[in-house]
Symmetry: none
Subunit: 213 residues, 4 copies
């Protein structure tokens, strides 16, 4: 039988003896009154890009979706399971969250895969290939710019992908209506794993710039 | 144009002036050498149940999928986008992760929705309704147990759902093969938001128990 | 008759009363013994990107070519005037300089022009159009990546252009021979006018990274 | 792989810790609003004659072309690359600069080469020989004046060359038209590396005189 990983149990003990002690009131209040997160973040599964760490957020502050390459698929009201769309609906309609951040990051494995479509799929089901297929058009454009280095193509698509997800967010009627009414704000961000830099997307131009403090 | 939320920017500044200072070498090394997370965690989007917080994990330690109610759908090798399956493929085949934790939690909004299927959908697309439809069978069973309190039914389905996701994980050939070969371990856990208690699933019985330290 | 600009005369007076006083010995020695600059820099004419300022260099330290967009044309041993090739020959063969830096910069007007080739030429002679024509191939590739923002395309071509010039440098037999023999080093750099950041090109990958101090 | 020269990196650090700190607002404003340099200077690549140093100019003040011996070729609207003509077009038509300074200097290596045409070319391509060929007529005249010392011939051709470039500037229609209309001013100057003296060309006579303060 599988033994729960010791490292995780040790980590949990640290949590209980440390952070939870200080924040037990907050946890109890959050349990009683429900969550009221200040923002929804669509982030990547990557172990180096946890939103709570990067934004130094405590319990109750961020509603977080994490999938490979922090993608938001377009609105597709069919009968299938839509993980990200369900989270979006819950955040916007259920929790009334009005700030949504799509946060990409450097060295994203999903983006790498999108840029190397002809490589062998990781498994016969090729779920990564299909999932990243959402970026087929943009990836093709970036691949054609062979004059860019591999790293430059990677970073370019990481940022294009954030803009693409923001556009897909706007295909959801509730998002579109709320944003047009000035009641919802969509944000793009990109985190540099190596340097810790956070780049914020300028919503007018789509460019990513480093915020000044 | 949308202004990036001040609270997040302030949080990021705390991160850069605090944690990042201590861990910059680690971030740089993780960027250079790639991530080698010790486990994959399938967790809920809920703002009160961030795995990195609960397991006190630093950068590079956990590969994290977060969707509503921490569900893993069954293996469906069709042409659709499968967010969670893509993440699983990346974790198992790409990163060679061998411990997967499905972590549920108390007061889960998705589970509440599954237990109240006839309520008004949150939006016309009813993405939550469809997503939680993955639990239709178990939810129907729990609802029929009218003798349980609402809170008991909720907690029951939260735990049933973890077991259900673990079973779905085993429908993926790579998981099944590796687990049967003794090379992969699947784990269940449930976090009590109010008390901070972590309950671990006994893999033989499927019961949830509190670990002793 | 044209009066020499007062601002320049005032600036020169500042120089004579300030820097020259401190460095008169150095100037006299440089006049007597000739220049032995440590590096050649190919930079842009842009008033915001003077190499001596950015590298804090004094008299005698940098041999500097400045043309629009800091381009190096390929080796063309014909009968025409070749401003940049002449400077290169003088630096390498005459002064025995062994480090050559091609330094691009942000918001480069020449690069902007290369990305907008169909716009009206600045004059009937269209010298900018012809000069930037050296980048026609790369510019076409970058323009095709319409998914990038205008600023992203601009920065991409600014960096591609540095790599292009470095490649053109290697078409000069003397550069090729010396570099192959390990006696010459070619470097790329890119200066961000707005933030003052200097990005250095990694010679292996061609990527631009910020140096650590 | 080539390591970026330490001396330049150290210089850049001095810049960032020194001058940039004081002028960061100016750099940011120049990036945002574009450059509006007060003059264009055609100067030599020589490491001892940087215009920004001699005129004590800060970022954004001088648009600078630097080639061997600060030459301006005549107007040649053919299909070739014309580095200096492109810069001139950009300065006059793009930036609307109305003061152009051609600045020669003492001990100029290019002028020396022009005065010793029968010496061995620096390389088989003989780019210096061809570039300085622009001065063939004047150089021949000066060489014939065998009564002058070598240093006198050198200084004479350095100044003749400035006048020659000013005449070539006037072969560009835009320069001619603007100057005739009183909207553009052309200036000559000559810098003595050894003593720091700046000599200004009297535009009526073509003589070089030391300005009085």
């Amino acid at each position: 039988m599988a033994q729960f990983p010791d490292e995780l149990l040790n980590g949990y003990r640290n949590f209980m003896n440390g952070r939870y002690v200080e924040e037990s009131d907050r946890y109890q209040s959050l349990a009683k009154e429900g969550q009221k997160p200040k923002a929804m973040v669509v982030a990547c599964c990557d172990s180096r890009a946890a939103p709570e760490t990067i934004f130094d957020c405590g319990p109750g502050e961020l509603f977080v979706v994490r999938n490979v390459a922090n993608l938001v698929p377009p609105y597709e009201p069919d009968g299938n399971y839509h993980s990200t769309s369900a989270a979006l609906e819950f955040a916007v309609q259920g929790l009334k969250i009005r700030d949504i951040v799509v946060m990409g990051h450097g060295r994203c494995g999903g983006i790498s895969a999108a840029l190397a479509p002809s490589s062998e799929p990781l498994s016969p089901g090729d779920f990564i290939g299909k999932w990243m297929g959402m970026l087929d058009g943009p990836a093709e454009q970036i691949r054609s710019a062979g004059i860019l280095t591999a790293a430059e193509r990677q970073r370019a698509l990481e940022r294009v992908s954030v803009r693409n997800s923001l556009q897909n967010l706007r295909t959801f009627p509730c998002v579109k209506i709320l944003e047009d009414a000035g009641k919802m704000r969509l944000h793009g961000a990109w985190f540099d794993i190596s340097t810790g830099e956070l780049w914020i997307m300028d919503s007018a131009s789509g460019d990513f710039i480093r915020p000044k403090f």
